[in-house]
């Protein structure tokens, strides 16, 4: 019999992680015009911080000296987590904080090429940065298991049992996504948000007005990369494994697709893009048809249809709504609100009367 807990928690968790990642990209690209196509690198930093902290941390606490990256060691970590849930929860919280800092630090470093390069060239350089990072971790085995990666990253809510832990983790991820959305919205509507847009639209003009655009770029890449690294931590604890081959440029492009689909420069649109892609990925799977009671024994493999449908939808939306499902809107400021109010037609007489009777 179908067990929808797996479906719902998977959709909720992946949506939350992708939403956080996409919001971070939207801040950098949608608002500041910095096409950080090395996004997966900063994301992987968070995942590796989590994996390394758990693997090396539990080994240090238990005095384990064997190979940390075998299936036996992974199983031992899961058993240790079940017996010491407080320790794993501490590792999780520590990883979130540490990953945010490390990610932000690497974001500042990434802003150096952004000083000299723009547009496509910056994007290419950042893709290369991501690939260099991935290849380094994959080749240097002692750090994170090389090509095998790190298995046995336990759920921080292991004390709730397998099903309880899934639900709790999903809720936590959604709350973190909501927090990221509120933070990003507030930042975008602040003076810094307007400055970001000015850098995006005309960097020279921003400089002429005395704005330090290199510092602005460094700031936003630090913020965006720190947020991406936090998403990476969630990814590691959800999948319970960290493998170099998961952090390939396609993951960046998936996030870019979410942002473009929802609407670059509009955080609500980004959430719509993330939920659309995540739900589509789940409801076009053969397992979903099985839940509905259909046996998908067709003449062709229905998995291919899934990829075609998703690709087709993106193409159609970009053709007919190039600004995304929810296009960018002006930054909300008090001045904008007043200007909008002045452009409205004169209120009806009864409304004027009601206004007059209101206390000053």
């Amino acid at each position: 019999m179908a067990d929808l807990l797996f479906l719902y928690t998977s959709i909720a968790t992946l949506f939350g992680i992708y939403a956080i990642l996409a919001l971070s990209f939207n801040l950098e690209y949608g608002y500041a015009g910095q096409p950080n196509l090395g996004k997966v690198f900063f994301f992987s930093i968070g995942a590796y911080v989590a994996g390394i902290l758990v693997a090396h941390g539990t080994a240090a606490l238990t005095g384990y000296t064997g190979d940390l990256f075998t299936a036996q060691a992974a199983n031992a970590r899961l058993l240790y987590a079940a017996a010491n849930p407080g320790t794993i929860l501490s590792f999780f919280i520590g990883a979130l904080a540490l990953a945010g800092l490390v990610g932000a630090g690497f974001g500042v470093l990434a802003s150096y090429p952004a000083l000299r390069l723009r547009g496509d060239f910056l994007a290419i350089v950042l893709i290369a940065v991501g690939e260099v990072g991935r290849v380094f971790v994959r080749v240097y085995t002692p750090l994170a298991g090389g090509n095998i990666g790190i298995g046995g990253v336990p759920s921080p809510f292991v004390f709730l049992g397998d099903r309880g832990a899934r639900v709790a983790f999903s809720v936590l991820v959604l709350l973190l996504a909501l927090g990221t959305f509120l933070f990003a919205s507030r930042l975008s509507n602040s003076p810094l948000g307007r400055l970001l847009k000015s850098v995006r639209d005309d960097e020279l003009a921003s400089n002429v007005f005395g704005k330090r655009t290199p510092w602005v770029k460094a700031q936003i890449l630090a913020v965006g990369s720190g947020i991406a690294a936090i998403a990476g931590v969630l990814w590691a604890f959800w999948f319970q494994t960290v493998a170099a081959d998961d952090f390939i440029p396609q993951l960046t492009f998936l996030v870019v697709a979410m942002v473009l689909l929802g609407g670059a420069g509009n955080h609500r649109g980004v959430l719509v893009g993330a939920i659309t892609m995540t739900v589509l990925d789940h409801v076009t799977r053969p397992s979903f048809y099985a839940i509905l009671g259909f046996e998908a024994n067709l003449a062709f493999d229905i998995n291919y249809l899934r990829y075609i449908l998703i690709g087709l939808m993106i193409i159609l939306i970009l053709m007919f709504r190039p600004g995304g499902l929810l296009p960018e809107k002006p930054v909300r400021t008090p001045a904008l609100d007043i200007a909008r109010a002045l452009r409205r037609p004169a209120p009806a007489a009864d409304t004027l009367q009601a206004e007059r009777t209101q206390p000053p």
Binding site: L4, R138, I148, G149, S287, I291, D301
Partner: protein
């Protein structure tokens, strides 16, 4: 007045957003509830067929785009045959397959496994690679779902769990290759291998085996990123290593690759003087028709034949079971099975037989029954006796080499390496 209008404008937008949000949440709740209701509906008429789900988590995209569909079809054939036999015997039981493409990545495998779990699957054929197996192992154990990987071979994954493996551990192939190299009077080997769990694992095992007594050979490893699309640098390094060895009759290359990367490496190597003057050996993954025309370029086909590309594959010596499997596969899909299709066929058969013999569709019961069924099962890839970790205990390896009869290219089998004795016997 402006202040009031401002308030009214902002308030209007906010209330519209709240309504929109409420409608969205309501739609999500209704859809989720409807789905939950549909999921609990009984399937089929009462007293009708009993349907057991069998997950097939075999990648058919990315690096498995060529061979994955052939492996998937091996499992499909087993399920179709079993259903036909059950129907003919008057049994009410049928197996319904659900195929999920994992894409070959660890997180892709986890997502696919989660999807199968949501459908209520308790037995799974797959995933393929050791990296994927490593990723889904905790899920299989926590949810007591029995999975059999048809092609994971990494020794580091040998643990007692719900994950079984029907392909033999790479340590056997390393021993077989060392014996073959010695038999062919090769003393210096340049290995070019995928830098993943499979390639690095086998390359390291061969190096440690062949550099030790009694072989005392020289082995140089050149590893490449399996996601790379070009291998010019690595082939250059391999050429330098082979040149350093002298590129003589005692020097050889061992290639451990899949299709797209392997084809690119062979294409570059055929244009390189040292590499095109020595003998070539290959891992079991090289025994695929993708390395022959028309899939590959004619020059690559000629190269592998001229260099006498030789390797092993863990398979049963031809017997009636193998012959019948190949005939049935050809009849069903109008193409020959690839080497690991034999294993996915056996993995599916073992799972279904275990369910039937256990008499219940229950993970722990199937897990307990699987080794018992394996003890008496002889399938398309030979016997399936499992060790204490649920891995294929041991296997004999057939020796093949690339041949061309003037019309067709083929992998011709010429001998057997016996694991029990460690001897290589030519046909």
């Amino acid at each position: 007045m402006a202040g009031a209008a401002e308030t009214a404008g902002t308030g209007g937008a906010a209330s519209r957003m709240k309504i929109l949000l409420a409608v969205l949440v309501a739609i999500i709740i209704v859809l989720a509830g409807a789905l939950a209701y549909v999921a609990t509906l009984p399937r089929g008429p009462t007293g009708g067929p009993v349907t057991y789900l069998i997950g097939v988590e075999i990648a058919i995209t990315n690096q498995y785009a060529t061979d994955g569909p052939l492996r998937r079809d091996g499992a499909y054939l087993a399920i179709d045959q079993m259903n036909a036999q059950l129907l003919a015997a008057g049994s009410p039981i049928q197996f319904q397959r659900i195929h999920e493409d994992s894409g070959g990545s660890p997180t892709g495998a986890t997502n696919s496994f989660n999807a199968l779990l949501s459908a209520g699957v308790k037995i799974v054929v797959g995933p393929l690679s050791s990296g994927e197996v490593n990723a889904v192992m905790p899920l299989a154990n926590a949810n007591q779902v029995v999975a059999i990987s048809p092609s994971s071979t990494a020794p580091s994954l040998a643990v007692d769990d719900y994950m079984f493996r029907v392909a033999p551990n790479d340590a056997f192939q390393a021993r077989a290759l060392a014996k073959l190299l010695q038999d062919q009077a090769i003393t210096k080997v340049g290995v070019i291998a995928r830098d993943d769990d499979y390639g690095r694992g086998l390359a390291n095992l061969l190096k440690s085996t062949y550099e030790a007594a009694p072989y005392s050979g020289q082995v140089t490893l050149v590893m490449y990123d399996p996601t790379a699309t070009t291998h010019t640098t690595e082939v250059g390094l391999l050429s330098t290593a082979i040149n350093g060895f002298g590129a003589d009759a005692q020097t050889a290359v061992l290639i451990i690759a899949f299709e797209p990367d392997g084809v690119d490496i062979l294409n570059l190597a055929r244009q390189d003087t040292p590499l095109s003057s020595v003998r070539w050996f290959g891992s079991e993954t090289l025994r695929r028709t993708a390395f022959f025309p028309p899939t590959a370029a004619p020059e690559i086909g000629q190269f592998v034949v001229q260099r006498n590309l030789t390797g092993f594959f863990p398979s049963a010596v031809r017997n009636p079971v193998v012959v019948k499997f190949e005939a049935d596969y050809n009849a069903a899909f109008s193409r020959a099975p690839s080497p690991y299709a034999y294993y996915s066929y056996d993995a599916a058969m073992l799972l279904m037989l275990s369910v039937l013999r256990a008499g219940t569709y229950d993970g722990p019961a199937v897990r307990a029954m699987l080794p018992v069924v394996g003890q008496t099962y002889i399938g398309a890839s030979g016997h399936k006796i499992f060790d204490q970790y649920g891995d294929y205990a041991a296997a004999d390896y057939r020796v093949w080499h690339a041949t061309f009869d003037g019309t067709n290219y083929a992998f011709t089998e010429v001998g057997t390496w016996f694991y029990a004795t460690g001897n290589l016997v030519w046909d």
